[in-house]
Each structure stands twice: as structure tokens, then as C-alpha cells.
């Protein structure tokens, strides 16, 4: 089984050529990394004095506190946005036009607004003493709207025969939704829901801009407090330490999404629904098949999203 149909299985000459390209590109990348490390060292970012602080229990407690604040904000925003998403999705799937239309307008508006602009509004107008709520409510409104679209797409993707059969045996609207549609939809939605949660987690860092004491802000306050060593401030150590924490958190959450996606795909009987027309595609990598599930590609499965 060849890895890709984009190129032939390399023969001896192509293998040699690929090896040369490989060596050149590896050297170029290593050179780049070496350059970065050299420059950082050269400008004195690795002086012991700038890193000493991270050994103290006091500092570690502060970092932990920032981490907990971030996680708390994330947890609140996640729970609230899922709840709001459920309500809005129910509204958009309603049979009554007077419920459906206002919800649609609401969802479209919040999805179209830059999150930071909404957080600024909430912060300056209502929560200037409590930036946490500005952040949580902003995140909830935005991510709730996105989640509601994911829910809606998931429920609409359940084959029509399911709800028809449920109505035929005399179930009521609520029963059809809770007993038949949601249990089946959740399975296909889960990766998208979790990727959106990764977005929520990433966006908690917007608190930094409204001076909310989350992880990144603690880091900055910290770097400003550390006395400069030979005229070099402790910003780079801060970025390295706090950046790694953030990236590890997000990576953990998004690998959970990928894992769930893989395991549901494996357990599903019959053809995977996401397979594009013709099934055979250019890349023989089934874990990345295009997902045509929802409108404007918003509910791509798997990895994290841009907004």
C-alpha cells in the first residue's frame, strides 16, 4: 500500500534524491533552531538570574493560581456555552416561526461579532470591576452560538427515517428529540464540540487584554517584576514557560477530540458518513477525510478551529 498517490513509489534514483532533499531540509530546520537558540543566548535570555524565580515555591504557587483562574474561567464558559448552545439549537429547530427567526438572528449576530469587541463592551459597560464575568459572558455568547450551530448540524445529520420511525410509533416531539435524535447526534458531534471547547480554552487568554488575572497576565506581571539582568528583561523565559503550559493544555484537549473521532469512526458499522464522493481520494489517510457535514465548513471534526 503506497502512502500517497501524488508521487510514484520512489525508485533508487528518486530515493537518493529524496534523501538529499531530506538532509538539506533537515539541516535548514536545525540551522533555524540553532540560530534562534544562539540569538536568544547571545542576547542574554538564558542568564540564570532571569530563570531563578521559577524555582521558588512562591512563584510556582502564583503560576498554579493563574492556571486555576484560567481553568475556572474555561470551566464556567464551557458549561454555560454548552447550555446556551442547547437552548439556541432548540430554538432554531423549533416548529414555531416566531421562535426560530429571533434565535437565528441572535446566533448569526453573535457568530459574526469579534469576540474581543464583545468582551470590551461587557467590560466597559457592565463589568469594569469584575473582568472575569465580562470574559465568561463574552465567551458564553460567542461559543454558545457556535455550539448551537454544531448541535443543529448534528441533529439535522441524523437520517430522516429515524425521526419518521419514532413519530410513527407515536412518540411526541420531545421524546423524539431526547430519546432518538440526540443520542445518535451526540456521537457524531462530539469531536466538533470538543474542538470548539479548545477554542473556548484558547480564547480565555483574551482576558490578558482586559487585564484579567489569568495565566498569561500572571506571566506578564511576573516578567515585569523580575529585575532585569544586564539590561535584559525576563519576558522570553515567561513566554517559554507560560506558552508551554498553554500549548500543552490545548494539545491535551484537542488530542482528546481526535481520539474520540478515531474511536467512533472505528466502531461505526457500515460506510463512514464523512467519506467524500467516490470514496477513493488522493491522500490515503482516512483520519483526515473532508467533512461535508455542516454549512460553511464550520463543524469540521477533529482539530481545533480558528475562531
Amino acid at each position: 500500500m503506497s502512502a500517497s498517490v501524488l508521487y510514484d513509489v520512489p525508485g533508487p534514483k528518486a530515493r537518493r534524491r529524496n534523501r538529499v532533499y531530506g538532509v538539506i531540509s533537515t539541516l535548514a530546520l536545525l540551522g533555524l533552531i540553532a540560530f534562534v537558540i544562539y540569538r536568544l543566548d547571545d542576547t542574554g535570555q538564558f542568564q540564570a538570574g532571569l530563570w531563578d524565580d521559577y524555582q521558588y515555591a512562591n512563584t510556582q504557587d502564583r503560576i498554579l493560581e493563574g492556571l486555576l483562574t484560567t481553568l475556572k474561567t474555561f470551566a464556567l464558559a464551557a458549561v454555560l456555552s454548552l447550555a446556551l448552545g442547547a437552548v439556541l439549537a432548540a430554538g432554531r429547530l423549533s416548529d414555531h416561526r416566531w421562535v426560530r427567526w429571533p434565535t437565528a438572528v441572535l446566533v448569526e449576530f453573535f457568530r459574526a461579532m469579534p469576540l474581543l469587541i464583545m468582551i470590551f463592551l461587557l467590560y466597559y459597560a457592565y463589568f469594569d470591576t469584575e473582568p472575569m464575568w465580562a470574559l465568561v459572558i463574552g465567551l458564553t455568547l460567542y461559543n454558545g452560538s457556535v455550539q448551537s450551530e454544531i448541535f443543529r448540524a448534528g441533529i439535522n445529520a441524523v437520517p430522516k427515517g429515524q425521526s419518521e420511525a419514532a413519530y410513527a410509533i407515536g412518540m411526541r416531539k420531545t421524546q423524539v428529540m431526547t430519546r432518538v435524535l440526540i443520542p445518535q447526534a451526540v456521537r457524531s458531534m462530539l469531536p466538533s464540540i470538543i474542538s470548539q471547547l479548545v477554542v473556548t480554552l484558547k480564547d480565555t487568554s483574551l482576558g490578558f487584554i482586559i487585564l484579567y488575572e489569568e495565566l498569561l497576565y500572571v506571566g506578564k506581571a511576573f516578567a515585569e517584576r523580575t529585575p532585569p539582568e544586564n539590561g535584559v528583561y525576563a519576558f522570553i523565559p515567561m513566554v517559554i514557560v507560560f506558552g508551554s503550559i498553554y500549548i500543552l493544555l490545548c494539545l491535551a484537549l484537542s488530542s482528546l477530540a481526535t481520539w474520540i473521532e478515531r474511536s467512533t469512526k472505528r466502531s461505526r458499522k457500515g460506510a463512514p458518513t464523512a467519506a467524500p464522493a467516490g470514496a477513493a481520494t488522493v491522500m490515503a489517510d482516512p483520519s483526515h477525510s473532508a467533512d461535508g457535514g455542516s454549512r460553511d465548513g464550520d463543524a469540521r471534526g477533529g482539530g481545533p478551529k480558528a475562531d
Binding site: 500517497s4 498517490v5 501524488l6 508521487y7 520512489p10 528518486a14 529524496n18 532533499y21 531530506g22 538532509v23 531540509s25 533537515t26 530546520l29 540569538r39 536568544l40 542576547t43 535570555q45 459574526a112 461579532m113 469579534p114 469576540l115 474581543l116 469587541i117 464583545m118 470590551f120 466597559y124 459597560a125 484558547k202 480564547d203 480565555t204 487568554s205 483574551l206 490578558f208 487584554i209 498569561l216 519576558f235 522570553i236 513566554v239 506558552g243 498553554y246 500549548i247 490545548c250 494539545l251 484537542s254 467524500p276 467516490g278 477513493a280 481520494t281 488522493v282 477525510s289 473532508a290 467533512d291 460553511d296 465548513g297 469540521r300 482539530g303 481545533p304 478551529k305 480558528a306 475562531d307
Partner: protein
Amino acid sequence: MNVLTDNFAAFRDGFLKTVELTAYSSLLALVLGILIAGFRVSPVPALRVFGTVWVTLLRNTPLVLLFLIVTLGLPALGLKGWDSFWLAVMALGCYTSAFICEAIRSGINTVPVGQAEAARSIGMTFTQTLSQIVLPQAARTAIPPVGSLIIALTKNSAIASGFDVMELGALQTQLNADAGYDILVIFLWIAVCYLIITLTLSGLFRLLENRLAVAR
């Protein structure tokens, strides 16, 4: 007092700055995204690894953190002299490039396998197959997701206001600080500005999609 007429010049400048920021960053994101997508499907393992690492890291980095890395990191590397606007373009462009790479890769994925096979059988090399056969067809399916990514980029560009770029987000904070205007009204006008940009973009992408649509 009317917020818009009193501060028309400021609104115009902020609006243009946001448009400019979006335009340059999308250009960077598209170029980088296509390049990295090429890396990720290439026969050279080192490039594939680089592409995977690039995408995984950038997709899991909060944009604010990336802004911090760029604004604090580049001067530390001795690359001084960039102004805040170009630093913001770099952060936004690199961040979005990871997502665009994935959109293009799943576009490549929808091109029927016979296309690449036919290209190979008439002796095309990998670069030729990719650039002349597969990518042009992949572009069609990739356009709607790339469109929503560019719209997301427009919205994300508001973060640049926290890093000294005088665009719409910064205008909002500045006007909010000027007491005397209703904060909600300021928000509404800023919202209208963003809506103008995003609706234009989605219209443009729909046009492009219809233009390039081909019955398969």
C-alpha cells in the same frame, strides 16, 4: 452627540487599518498555508514532519500568546525595527496559515484519485502533479472553508488592538475611555464596521465559488 459623525475620521482610519491588516495577513496566511500543505503531502519526510509540527503547534496556540511571542520574541532575536502593524500581520498570518493548510489538505483529499494517477502516468513529477493537476481542483472545494477562515481572521484581527495597532478594536477602547458617549452605541457602530467587512468577504467568496464551480 453622535458617535459616528463626531469621530468620522477616526472611524475611517480604524476601518481602513482593519481592512489593511486583514488583507496583508490573509495574503501571508494563504501563501504560507499552500506552502505548508505542499510540505505535508510531499515525498520528503523531513518536510512532512515540519508541516505537521507547524500545524499542530499553531492550531493549539492561543492567538494572544502568539502575538506575545512575535512582539517579544523577534526583538529578542535581534530582529528589531518592525512596527506593531507588521508584527500583527505576522502573528495573524502564521496563526491562520495552519488552518488554511488543513483546509487545503482536505481539499486535496476530495480530488478523485484518478486525476493524480493520470498525471503520474504521463510522467509528471510530484511538483507538477500537485501544482498543475491537484491543487487547481482542490482549490474549488477549499474555497468555502478558506472563506470562513478569512472571516475568522478579520474577527481575530481585533486582538491586534491589545498590541498597539490602531484598528477598530483600539478605536472602541479609546472611545469607551472618552466619557460622554453611550458605550452600547459605540459598540453598535464598531459592529456595523465589522459586519461591512465580513459580509463583503463572504459575498466575494460566494462569487468566487460560483465562478469556479464546475459540474463533476
